[in-house]
């Protein structure tokens, strides 16, 4: 695909590196010459200097032949105008990062008379096919984690029939065992083993060691039961303390409240406290310092089911997350913007570190689909990608066994879905036209997998 990325900031350059690695033709448009120079040095992408919201710059970037234009600058307005211009110039699809929720909705136009038909203006009418709100994505992801039994996000495929989830190996029962020795109670596939930050493609002889985590592919109804073999399930959160009343904190509080969860928000800024207290119903908003141990105890934080740190400061989030854990909160989640802090946060006991940057890239991965694919998700800090392909009658893989199909090294078939029936493991099954096949593969070989489905 030919992809233009407007904005070379943290999100823009991150997505550019990801897409370039996948073999897409990428152009980054950026106003700052300094930022462009850094991108030129680090990434194998084309660069264009200028404001992407102007037609001349978009023409220079060849927006007319773009399969996708991603506008991810810091300004919502610039992103919207960029998408609108690009669409007018002939770009096939556009996506904009919009952080102000007031921009991302629909609105009814005023009518000529009280009874006249109203026209509803949709984002698509403005030339924007997809709105990406990193803060909303982060809030959604945390809500998903808090409502489940495990602290890892789940990826769903084939209309939710199949799920992929990472599980930490916590107990002793599976340690030092070959995968072939483990008797799984339900059908499943171990798609990858994560050891010391690296990915291992599992073979039957692979031995599970302490500290590993595994990516498990299974039917939706069995995933929690299988997960119990690896990690101890935690009860879904019924009372949550949120540190930080910013956009993510606010959206999270609002969403959790809708699901009947008791929410307390701790915010240091008094005026922000007053603002969100007026907007959030049945939510306790406290003004205070999240690092003050006595304050946290006084406010009943130790009895909460989960603590979520959502401030702007990664360091503060990690520190407060650790403090909450120390106070006995079973689940401690933190928002981190610098990917380098993630292993550190996990090593010191913080359960999950959700990165808005990665979540945005993940949302885009769903959108930048490969030929024949209908869904995709990035796993393990974007080293792996799970892709759901639909087998066409002309596909190379059609009427072949998965084991004979010639999947590239590192790629593993997780499941076949035929007429809403899940086949796991798919190893010796014949892939028939119309089958949905879920493949988990390192990012660098996704292209080769894609060729099998062409």
């Amino acid at each position: 695909m030919y992809i233009i990325i407007a904005g070379g900031g943290v999100i823009g350059s991150h997505i550019a590196s990801l897409l370039a690695e996948e073999g897409h033709e990428v152009v980054v448009v950026e106003v700052s010459e300094e930022v462009l120079e850094t991108i030129r040095r680090q990434l194998d992408v084309k660069t264009v200097h200028g404001n992407a919201a102007t037609p001349n710059v978009l023409r220079e970037a060849e927006a007319d032949r773009a399969d996708l234009v991603l506008a991810v600058t810091d300004s919502d307005e610039t992103n919207m105008v960029t998408c609108f211009m690009a669409k007018e110039l002939g770009a096939s699809t556009t996506a904009a990062r919009i952080r102000n929720p007031e921009f991302s909705g629909y609105f009814v136009t005023p009518a000529k008379s009280p009874q006249a038909t109203r026209k509803i203006i949709r984002p698509r009418s403005l030339g924007i096919d997809v709105f990406i709100n990193p803060e909303a994505e982060a809030a959604k992801e945390i809500m998903g984690i808090l409502s489940g039994f495990y602290s890892t996000p789940v990826e769903s495929f084939a209309n939710g029939l199949v799920q992929i989830r990472e599980f930490m190996v916590e107990g002793e029962a599976l340690v030092d065992k070959n995968l072939s020795q483990i008797a799984f109670p339900k059908p499943c596939v171990i798609a990858a083993i994560v050891r010391a930050g690296g990915i291992i493609t599992p073979s039957p002889e692979e031995v599970i060691t302490q500290g590993d985590s595994v990516y498990l592919v299974a039917s939706r109804e069995f995933i929690d039961e299988l997960g119990q073999m690896f990690s101890k399930p935690k009860r879904p959160a019924k009372s949550v303390v949120i540190l930080g009343g910013g956009r993510i904190g606010f959206l999270l509080a609002e969403g959790l409240k809708r699901h009947g969860v008791m929410v307390k928000v701790i915010e240091s800024d008094l005026s922000r406290c007053q603002e969100i207290a007026a907007k959030l119903e049945q939510t306790v908003v406290l003004q205070g310092d999240g690092t003050d141990r006595d304050f946290l105890i006084e406010q009943g934080v130790p009895s909460a089911d989960a603590f979520v740190a959502t401030t702007q400061s990664d360091e503060l989030n990690i520190l407060c997350g650790l403090l909450a854990k120390n106070l006995g909160v079973p689940r401690s989640l933190v928002i981190i913007n610098k990917p380098g802090y993630v292993p550190l946060a996990e090593a010191i006991g913080v359960d999950v570190a959700a990165l808005p940057t990665l979540l945005t890239a993940d949302k885009i991965a769903h959108f930048v689909l490969h030929g024949g694919a209908i869904s995709a998700a990035l796993l393990e800090g974007q080293q792996l990608e799970a892709v759901e392909f639909v087998t066409s009658p002309q596909a190379h893989i059609a009427n072949k066994k998965i084991s004979d199909a010639g999947l590239p090294k590192g790629a593993i078939a997780g499941a076949i879905i035929r007429n809403d029936r899940v086949i796991i493991p798919p190893g010796d099954s014949l892939v028939q036209p119309g089958d949905h096949v879920i493949i988990v593969s390192p990012l660098s070989v996704v292209h080769s997998v894609e060729k099998l489905f062409k």
């Binding site: 909705g105 629909y106 009814v108 009874q115 038909t117 109203r118 509803i120 949709r122 698509r124």
Partner: protein, 142 residues
């Protein structure tokens, strides 16, 4: 007969998909004709006409996105509109007049009302009031 502006009301049914395919055939590929796909959200009288019914709008948006995709696959030019009105029939007619279309193409599925085959309220209204030709595409009874 050449139809260069075709209005296709869509509600997300299988019959609508087949009607869209027919509309694409009639409009002709290579930018010959233009298709207007329209979805109308009926607003109950208990609500103000300007209400933003989020759940309905979201559903309507995905119906129109799917319709757009169908037309693009056939290489047809399409414009989509989302309307909300008290009654669906008059909204379709107003849109047909405003867009100056020369054909309204409606997909109809097999429906029974009190045991009798029924066209519902919208189709008879459109047939009676349309300012242009109307084609009803009746989906095969499954």
């Amino acid at each position: 007969m050449q139809f260069n502006k075709i209005l296709v009301p869509v509600a997300g049914t299988k019959a609508d998909e087949e009607a869209m395919e027919l509309a694409c055939t009639l409009a002709g590929a290579k930018n010959k004709g233009l298709i207007f796909a329209v979805h109308v959200i009926p607003v109950e009288r208990s609500l103000p006409l300007d209400s933003e019914i989020e759940s309905e709008i979201g559903r309507a948006d995905s119906i129109l996105a799917h319709t757009e995709l169908l037309a693009q696959e056939q290489g047809c030019r399409i414009e989509t509109d989302l309307l909300q009105a008290r009654e669906v029939g008059p909204a379709i007619i107003d849109e047909a007049i405003e867009r100056e279309v020369n054909l309204i193409l409606i997909g109809v599925s097999y429906k029974k009302h009190f045991g009798q085959f029924s066209l519902g309220d919208v189709v008879p209204y459109v047939l009676k009031n349309a300012p242009c030709r109307v084609i009803l595409y009746h989906q095969r009874k499954s």
